[in-house]
């Protein structure tokens, strides 16, 4: 999620900078997208689909906590990998390394 950070500064207060608002909307969309995938992935890993009761049992609750943590760890690892590959690609000019 650090991909979108850093680039916003130099503000003209009072008027709406369409560019900046769009960037914020894009970031919001991405956070929502990640959250929905997280909910779905941890549901598949932790929740029994017999649905004998409506409450989370102890095992499910603990599983959810660990699942969210692990998902973030995977998110971090994948992000690092993509950044490393992006940096390599920019250096060697494989991707459109101009901007």
């Amino acid at each position: 999620m650090s991909f979108l950070g850093g680039a916003r500064n130099g503000v003209a207060p009072g008027t709406i900078n369409q560019e900046r608002v769009e960037m914020a909307v894009q970031e919001l969309d991405m956070v929502t997208d990640v959250f929905n995938r997280l909910v779905s992935a941890c549901h598949a890993k932790c929740i029994s689909t017999r649905y004998a009761e409506g409450d989370l049992n102890k095992g499910e609750s603990v599983c959810i906590d660990r699942c969210v943590f692990k998902f973030f760890e995977v998110n971090k690892k994948v992000g690092e990998k993509l950044q490393a590959m992006g940096a390599n690609a920019a250096a060697s000019g494989t991707f459109g390394g101009g901007h």
């Binding site: 916003r8 003209a12 009072g14 914020a24 959250f35 549901h43 929740i47 649905y51 959810i64 973030f72």
Partner: protein, 89 residues
């Protein structure tokens, strides 16, 4: 997300957009929930009526999914807050 980087006019504009998105997200969650609980609970199509067993399953499925989402949301917020404070880690 750090809205403090937006100026007041932009923040007001954003909160309108966010409100609209929340409505959309709610509706999408609703139809996703219907699909999920229907798929998990309804397997008998010899009758069109929802059996009491299926209905109990659907109610529990809905209940559990919402509690699950809430718990995931709480952990998600904690992890996000942590990442903001320790971006290097």
């Amino acid at each position: 997300m750090d809205l403090s980087q937006l100026n007041p006019a932009e923040q007001a504009h954003m909160s309108k957009i966010i409100e609209k998105k929340q409505m959309q997200d709610f509706l999408r969650m609703y139809s996703n929930l219907v699909e999920r609980c229907f798929t998990a609970c309804c397997n008998d199509f010899t009758s069109k009526a929802l059996s009491s067993k299926e209905e109990t399953c659907v109610m529990n499925c809905t209940d559990k999914f919402l509690k699950h989402s809430e718990r995931v949301g709480a952990r998600f917020a904690e992890q996000n807050a942590e990442m903001m404070n320790n971006p290097g880690k």
